[in-house]
Symmetry: C2
Subunit: 310 residues, 2 copies
């Protein structure tokens, strides 16, 4: 496996792809790989999360951000995560015309990841995939997710900066989003800003942001991603946020939190595997489940006994 | 706390409400309450999950199912869960006109639950809330969720039978759903069946179901919930599925799996609390996170040390 770690560190795209597959499948040698990468070049890359409902233009926007970063000479890794698809085993990349332009650019690595449900899914796999891309020398890592559910919150906690993408006329866009986006957004992008309703969406966001008492007020950037309009403003907003992170100490705080989550999810997966393990040939949980079903013990007492047997 | 358990077992609505709040907040005395309820009357009620995208008519359909069950003399408990709203701390009940009709019926208990993110969220709270309603003598427990993401899969694993609600003209309805709904649906309901496109939706579902090799082929039931049309067919489909569950042994299997999940999530919450605990005045995970961030140890080694210190 040392070979693979060396190849990843040398930035070889095929090795990177293989390493991320290893993460996805929790394959043999993963632990050794991450261990080797983990102590060599940790947390160097800038991680940007990008989330929004289907149809707001996430892929196109990602494409424009790739372009902008490439112009600055940065290598870009993209993880497209579909948390709403726990079954298929393959996330939908959707319509990625703009992103396909970069398919032959060795400075760009694009990968879709599915959450398999095992081992904590997204929360388990994405930090390790980021670690792989980081070690491989990608300067900017874009993590793209759909919607604003728990998975997106998890992704936001992984990122240095999180962009929440909206578009006018998405119906429940801002309204449904209110519940969560203010908490996770570092930058709001209102895409399709040439469409009717864009000003209303921007106004609504402004009112929302105005109520925030946080030290960083997320800027609201209008874009027309298909024509590349406003992209420079998004990049500037990200740069401003990066400066804020560095100067306020929030950047280190976020990375500490990321490291904390990364460890915790590995700990929980390991403990989960142990819980599921066998004692005297019987699966611990199965045995207790039958007793709970029969009303012999309550679930808390059953849980105690499982923990005691670990 | 014995008082509360007794009142729940006597089916007093205010006690039921208080007990579910205790579950939501993981309040003091919860463990004792569940322990008392857990060994007295476990897994008696029929649990039906109901899931679908916003706008397909979930609340109205839930209302019609309540009505139908009340006509059979069954007591009905409803848990409306909004997994997409991890922040608000209060799930949106939405437009529940039909359900409000039952607000004064003592045989109906309606409650919205939010997933707080803590302790495993939905997966932690809902089984215990079901247990409370079960102990309180509700014959039918409807668990309503939005969308088809991981949370819905979790709910499906809690339910004896899961209804997936669709409506024509929801755009990506069936297509987006393909990824997951076949795996969780025991009954498909195509609501708003008087609208254009209903036949196409039904045809698409039929083609999907035809490919299934499972021993239970989910029936596809058209309804117009606002007019009560097709509700009897939904009830018949649920009854047929209940018979299948009983005769095939799948019913017991599902309840065993539910008990297993119920225990596991309590175990993991407890272990998580211990992981987050302090050793010599320092938070275990914080200390390791700083070392991982510095590249001194890799996350797996950090995880091992956390586990060893438990």
């Amino acid at each position: 496996m040392t070979g693979l770690a060396d190849d990843v560190l040398a930035g070889r795209p095929r090795a990177v792809a293989r390493a991320i597959s290893l993460v996805e499948n929790a394959g043999a040698g993963l632990r050794e790989l991450i261990a080797e990468l983990g102590t060599r070049q940790p947390y160097r890359a800038k991680v940007v999360g990008l989330t929004g409902s289907p149809g707001v233009g996430k892929s196109t926007s990602t494409g424009t951000l790739i372009e902008a970063a490439r112009k600055r000479g940065e290598k870009v890794g993209v993880l497209a995560v579909d948390p709403s698809s726990p079954f298929t085993g393959g996330a939908l990349l959707g319509d990625r015309v703009r992103m396909q332009e970069h398919a032959t650019d060795s400075g760009v690595f694009i990968r879709s990841m599915a959450t398999r449900g095992h081992l904590g899914g997204l929360a388990w796999a994405v930090p390790q995939a980021i670690r792989v891309l980081d070690a491989a020398g990608y300067d900017l890592i874009l993590v793209e997710t759909v919607g604003v559910g728990q998975a997106e919150v998890d992704v936001a906690s992984l990122a240095d900066s999180t962009i929440v993408l909206l578009a006018p006329g998405m119906g429940d866009g801002v309204q449904a989003a209110k519940a969560g986006i203010l908490e996770i957004a570092d930058v709001f992008v209102v895409n399709k800003a040439d469409r009717e309703g864009a000003q209303a969406t921007i106004r609504e966001l402004r009112n929302m942001v105005a109520l925030s008492t946080a030290s960083w007020r997320p800027p609201i950037v209008p874009t027309v991603a298909v024509r590349g309009e406003g992209v420079a403003d998004v990049v500037a907003a990200l740069d401003a946020h990066a400066t804020y992170l560095a100067e306020s100490g929030q950047g280190r705080k976020r990375r500490l939190a990321r490291a904390r989550d990364e460890i915790e999810v590995i700990v929980l997966a390991e403990l989960r595997a142990r819980i599921g393990g066998r004692v005297h040939g019987l699966e611990r949980l199965e045995v207790m489940a039958a007793r709970v079903l029969a009303g012999e013990v309550d679930p808390y007492t059953a849980a105690d006994q499982v923990i005691a047997s670990l």
